[in-house]
Symmetry: C2
Subunit: 349 residues, 2 copies
């Protein structure tokens, strides 16, 4: 186990850990002493009809969801809803390779799936709060993969679903792309098969990964317009790559990111229907709003549209954001305005 | 110097080497014993008005231009034109780090620019054939960067210009992307600062680079539609990554590719006008046809359009090809049909 203060409350704000005990995984392995980080906002009403689950994306934690997506000025308003933000497994705060004791530490941490996240989240909601039905499940990117998994695997529990900047089945393009990120880290000799002594030792591999993320996390228009100046306050291309992209990943744990990548790369609800995506998405009963980001190179709108057509009654709302995928961090006010507008409409329905 | 049979005539077909002697570079350094690989087709007419220069792209050589772009069935018809295909410097066949003797071999090979290519090509055309004016300069990708360089630096010599899938100034997005390719190679300990004993030793780094190229060289639609089946005859995603992408780069020389990347990453005609791109492109007098590829992630149409607007009288013709950038290899018959149609119109004007 490695101590990493970045994943503690000084960086992550207030969160709680829910002890799942043994979590039997989709792979058949058991993650022992599994823990989920979560934070709640608002009050669960008497009939437990106002619960909203918010999931997290790759490299993100509950903190960014709290800061950007939740609040009285947002659709996810704690004065109306009981909002539960759950860190995905491998987030660095929830159970992850570096914070799990032997014999499942580091390189021996089990391979997880998005299905395992949903199983764990379901147990948290039921065991802690007695929640059996969610007014809404919403998440972005890998968080959106969890939304689709919820809606397909537990249709009776999901009243509304809002996958933002995500697809229901990982594209083959993303499978290759994520592999380039994994290779950037695992090719660093200091990674040492996952047995590094300090995350900082794997800095070269992490930096290479950060640069690759930069090439598709942001749109070509973002670069063309040098939007890092106005949007991020950076003074040049190098200032952006070093000061935003590398700096963002710098405090994180390489194995935690690899754990998430493994899930990201395999997210696919069609496995519930022997590979038939239409059959799987046909099981969704939630009122669903599919929200791609206009300039997204990870989950381009044309792929999200295909999903939306297979979900009964789904509405497609393309969020215009020239940032591309990373726009989901809410750098631009226009982004959250659109998300809030769509989510309010969905919640009112 | 390393012997690499891939760059010999058994793989590259018939070509000749033109000895430039000393080539004084834009950097101020001199490349001694510089050589350009070239091949010609057709006959130069009496007034030397039918000469066409064809340039080469990153990792490509004259061979692919000969095979795909030149022939009686194409606009570049040797029965009408005297066609000169010149390998760019660093192609592996023309002067490159591995085929240059000490003291400029391998890691000590000078850093080159697209301007150096045009200087060398101009000398070849003048000294070998007495050509002072070109009916057309055409090239794709890095070859298109050379086309823009020709048209801006030597407007009086270029009657027509056809940059395909290229921009006149490298985008900041491409600068970051190309850096990820360089890092994939240079992070391989076997690369050894450029002093490997065999290109095969750098296989891991080259393979990582090949996978990164795969993520943007082809469109997301290419992956979505699994077009490697029909277009390339590959049976699966892994078959495609291994059997096409890694196999393509496998016989090549890492330092040669790095040499080209250095040029690719810095191609910018605006340096002729102190950074003013409009001023530089305003110097073009060639009849110009700008041809982006519809699904190109390297040089997206929206960037090529910006260039076209700055070239007096330029016509923009978007080539529809769902393959993306790699479509320029002409895998689909529809691609060359469009290119030929546009080039015929340009040559007739």
């Amino acid at each position: 186990m490695l101590d990493n203060p970045f994943y503690g409350p000084l960086s992550q704000g207030a969160f709680k850990l829910f002890d799942l005990g043994n979590l039997v995984l989709e792979s058949g392995e058991t993650l022992r002493g599994a823990k989920l980080a979560y934070r709640t906002f608002g009050t669960l009403n008497a009939d437990k009809s106002n619960a909203i689950l918010v999931t997290t994306w790759f490299s993100g934690t509950g903190k960014v969801m709290e800061d950007v997506y939740v609040g009285h000025s947002h659709a996810l308003d704690p004065e109306r809803y009981f909002i539960v933000i759950v860190d995905q497994l491998g987030s660095g705060v929830s159970s992850s390779p570096h914070n799990t004791p032997a014999p499942q530490a580091m390189a021996k941490f089990p391979r997880l799936s998005i299905g395992d996240d949903v199983t764990a989240q379901r147990r948290l909601l039921a065991e802690l709060f007695g929640i059996e039905r969610l007014a809404l499940v919403v998440g972005c990117s890998m968080g959106g993969q969890q939304v689709y998994e919820w809606a397909v695997a537990h249709p009776q529990m999901v009243e509304r679903a809002a996958p933002i900047a995500a697809t229901a089945r990982i594209s083959l393009h993303q499978r290759v792309f994520v592999e380039t990120l994994k290779e950037a880290i695992t090719s660093d000799p200091q990674w040492n098969g996952g047995w590094y002594l300090s995350a900082q030792d794997v800095r070269n591999g992490m930096d290479r990964m950060a640069r690759i993320v930069a090439t598709q996390g942001w749109s070509t228009q973002f670069y063309q317009q040098e939007r890092w100046r106005d949007v991020l306050g950076m003074s040049s291309l190098d200032d952006f790559v070093n000061g935003v992209m590398k700096a963002y990943f710098e405090p994180m744990d390489p194995n935690a990111l690899l754990c998430e990548m493994h899930k990201w790369q395999r997210a696919d609800v069609s496995r519930h229907a022997a590979g038939d995506l239409a059959e799987a998405l046909g099981r969704i009963t939630a009122r669903t709003m599919v929200m791609p980001i206009s300039h997204d190179c990870f989950f381009p709108p044309h792929e999200c549209e295909v999903d939306a057509r297979m979900v009964r009654g789904a509405q497609l709302r393309v969020i215009h954001s020239p940032e591309g995928h990373m726009g989901l961090n809410g750098f631009e006010p226009g982004y959250m305005q659109q998300v809030d507008q769509h989510l309010r409409e969905l919640l009112a329905a």
